[in-house]
């Protein structure tokens, strides 16, 4: 049981690359989501069909949520954040299907997503204001704070990965333990909690990524405004 709790079953290996269950699940999920998106956007109509208006409603909600945090740059960051949200939503919920595991209960998958967030924070920051301006914000308000800036960059990425992994893993362990103790029908409330938690964790991961990106873009805008008013 311990083995099943903390490690992943490996399906097959190609050279040094081991295809674990979580990797296969998330790859399949990615392909399915891409196919779904392609089929939904294939024939866009002025008077939408039911499916199209459903997809438009989902995108509208996501766009509104991004607009509230980052109004000027919402078009730029929308693809990344919306992809994170949709992928995490499905990845968290896949664990409810019998025989499948959430890919997000594997630390490798969440770490990969957190690394993506780490790089995209710098990418959006540099893209909005240029490299020199972006690097300068590490020296503000005082060059003494540079180590703290660097530590916070590192720890928040680790925290992002561990948070999602720990939440999903602990939920599955809780369901498993209740099943061992009580058996028939008793784990169903825990599974309902699983649905809520999957939604909340997907929301939080995407929202934190959005807030970090917004921080890297806006720190320079604010400091630029500040220097303009002073000049």
């Amino acid at each position: 049981m311990q083995e099943a709790l903390l490690t992943q079953t490996i399906y097959f290996e190609i050279g040094p690359l081991a295809f674990s269950q979580s990797l296969v699940t998330s790859l399949t999920l990615t392909i399915l989501l891409v196919l779904l998106a392609a089929s939904l956007t294939h024939h866009l109509l002025i008077t939408p069909t039911k499916l199209q208006s459903m997809a438009e409603a989902i995108m509208g909600v996501i766009e509104n949520a991004i607009n509230e945090v980052l109004p000027q740059y919402s078009r730029q960051v929308l693809p990344f954040i919306a992809t994170l949200w949709l992928f995490l939503l499905f990845a968290n919920l896949v664990g409810l299907i019998p025989g499948l595991q959430s890919p997000t209960r594997d630390l490798s998958i969440t770490a990969a997503l957190a690394i993506l967030v780490f790089f995209s924070v710098h990418w959006f920051g540099i893209r909005s204001q240029g490299l020199a301006n972006y690097l300068r914000h590490y020296l503000k308000p005082n060059p003494l704070l540079l180590p703290f800036h660097l530590i916070s960059e590192f720890t928040r990425t680790v925290a992002l990965a561990i948070r999602l992994f720990g939440n999903m893993m602990s939920l599955e362990i809780a369901a498993l333990l209740v099943l061992l103790v009580a058996g028939f029908l008793a784990p169903i409330p825990i599974l309902m909690l699983h649905i809520i938690e999957a939604l909340v964790q997907a929301y939080i991961f995407g929202m934190l990524a959005l807030v970090y990106v917004a921080g890297s873009i806006q720190s320079q805008i604010i400091s630029r405004k500040h220097s303009m008013t002073r000049a």
Partner: protein
Amino acid sequence: MSDMSFFVTSSTVAALAAIAFGVMIPALAMGWSISKAMEALSRQPEAEKAITRSLFIGLAMIESLAIYVLVIVLIVLFRNPLLEYLLN
């Protein structure tokens, strides 16, 4: 008491104490922040979206502390790296 049974007892006690405190204190912090958010909400209901968003982010931050404790407790219980010294 042999080394092994002392190790098992102490790691179990330590894990239980850690998870107890690691749940208690973040729970207090979460309750505190939720009550403050409710106060803010009753004072300014029109700022509901901004309050909810920052409340959720803050709760996630606090919750991750409890999750760190859980991860460390699981490591101590199932994958204790110090066990090697005892077994060799």
